[in-house]
């Protein structure tokens, strides 16, 4: 039994947002319902596609998802081929990319949020960041090929690949870090200055610890995207057949998405099964990274009260 006040407010709301029985007949209500159903279907369709995609990859992958698959090098025989080289390459790539992209990205974000005054230079940096976010990833590959592989003579190495991916991620890391920095109230900065801290001390001891979960979440989500990037690595010439794990940052390498692409583009359908198994591993890694990001955000943000 609801209270009279609740009933009244519910009725009032319904009248306000079109209690059609007063003004219109049934047909329009049906039309609206039909339209709502169409909208819901439009939203549901892509999600259904996503579900089918996951299910399809899993079903195709099932026969090859063994421990051997994870611990074998690629082979000309599909049933003996594995993804060890690709996994190792992706792992190295991830760490190197993070090492390059995090200081640059967080540094740029701190500059823009905390140090920059409105000027032509600041405006130029801002415009560049938003432009770079829209540049197709394959163009970064062309940049990496000329700049890192040829001009800096790094060759088709892990370092060249990581540097290319780092540039690609930079706009994302900067934007996420700026968002996080903006969540810290100004009163905290002012309080730290009032206690005699200079700007850098205030940043390092007060502001950064406060927004670290936000920054980390942004970084992990960007890295999750980087792990699936294929086009720029192919353009800089990452090898598609590598039967060894990289042993230095100057080694040639392959990565998980490149290995998948290599298997998909072969005519023999036996290799497609390998591609599916690689895809399941890749999706698993991505979901794990996303999970870590969500967990981190929930765990670390709960403790902050102001």
């Amino acid at each position: 039994m609801s209270s009279p006040a609740q009933t009244a407010s519910a009725a009032g709301q319904r009248t306000f947002f079109g209690n059609r029985s007063l003004t219109q007949g049934g047909p329009r209500l049906t039309g609206e319902h039909a339209f709502q159903a169409v909208c819901l279907a439009a939203l549901g369709l892509p999600l259904l596609v996503l579900l089918v995609l996951f299910a399809d990859a899993f079903r195709d992958a099932l026969p090859r998802l063994t421990w051997d698959f994870l611990t074998s090098y690629p082979s000309r025989r599909p049933e003996a081929a594995g993804i060890l080289a690709a996994l190792a390459g992706s792992a190295y790539l991830m760490v190197l990319t993070a090492v390059i992209a995090i200081p640059l990205g967080v540094g740029a974000a701190i500059y823009l949020e905390e140090y920059a005054r409105p000027s032509r230079l600041t405006a130029l940096i801002e415009v560049n960041i938003s432009n770079l976010a829209g540049v197709p990833s394959i163009i970064y590959g062309l940049l990496g090929l000329e700049l890192f592989v040829r001009a800096m003579q790094l060759g088709r190495s892990l370092l060249a690949g990581a540097a290319t991916l780092a540039l690609l991620l930079l706009p994302m890391v900067i934007m996420a870090s700026r968002e996080a920095l903006r969540t810290v109230p100004h009163s905290l900065r002012e309080a730290s200055y009032a206690l005699g801290a200079d700007r850098w001390q205030g940043l390092r001891r007060v502001v950064l610890p406060m927004c670290m979960p936000g920054i980390l979440t942004g970084i992990i989500l960007s890295l999750a995207r980087a792990i699936g990037e294929t086009a720029p690595l192919i353009t800089i010439g990452a090898l598609t057949y590598v039967a060894f794990a990289p042993n230095s940052i100057y080694s040639a390498f392959t990565a998980l998405p490149i290995q998948i692409f290599n298997w998909v583009s072969r005519p023999q359908t036996d290799f497609h099964v390998n591609a599916a198994a690689g895809i399941v591993v890749l999706l698993g890694l991505m979901l794990a990274l996303n999970g870590v990001a969500i967990w981190l955000r929930n765990r670390l943000q709960k403790r902050i009260y102001w």
Binding site: L53, D56, I110, G141, I260
Partner: protein, 307 residues
Amino acid sequence: MPGSKAKSHPELEQPRAFKERIIGWVLLLCGLVSVVTTAGIVAVLLTETWGFFREVSLEQFLADTQWTPLFAEKHFGIWPLMAGTMLTTATAVVVAVPLGLLSAIYLSEFAADRVRRLLKPVLEILAGVPTVVYGYFALTFVTPLLQALIPGLAGFNALSPGIVMGVMIVPVIASLSEDAVFAVPASLREGSYALGAGKLATIFRVILPSAFSGIAASVILGLSRAIGETMIVAIAAGQQPRLTLDPRVPIETMTAYIVQVSLGDTPTGTLEYRTIFAVGMTLFLMTFCLNLVSHRLRQHILRGGLQ
């Protein structure tokens, strides 16, 4: 100088120590990396494209209807690659615009708050799936499915990657359109209801026209994403540059061509090698213009273009 800044902090009045200044410079350098990156992209594309156009005339590039730089008889007409790109992009947009727009309307006008908060991140997963995975899906699932429906559909075609790409860019269009729809002032809705309009009339006659520039921005951004998308088309569209508008036959897009050459062993510095930069330049200019238009349209909304 202090006081000229919009957000004035008391720290501006503090004497700035030497250390502070060094830190400021280092952080500025981090920020400048983005400027250097843009300059690098433009410089790399311009130098190599310059080398390309010293050997191939602009007329050959724009007037020829064949693209065969890797064959003995070389032709450098960009149009077959352009046609392939347009074909997959058009398919993607035809799929993504209705799905994205209707999703946006559902999320902002019909869905309960809790439902919206649940559905939006799920929708975002679509954009986060690696494109190589979408390529596999287009080739091994969507193409066979479509072949059962459409007789004469080749194993590599423009249709199937286009459709899959469309699904991939739904979140781009849905999320930006939702922002635009959400930004329509409540007074307009209320005015419409006060005049006796129902929800449908309000959506179609008031909300969508008011949000038009934002919706256009989202569509243009989706277009730009589709043009620059690489792996789906490289896997499922084939590698046969041809000047056709038939989505059932194998084609090649600009991005797929770059991948094809990168995988081969074309020696650096040759004309064949430079073609990928000429194609890259074309791609960069196209997406850059689209992004610029989309950005302008969005700024228009932010500045209160609705009123």
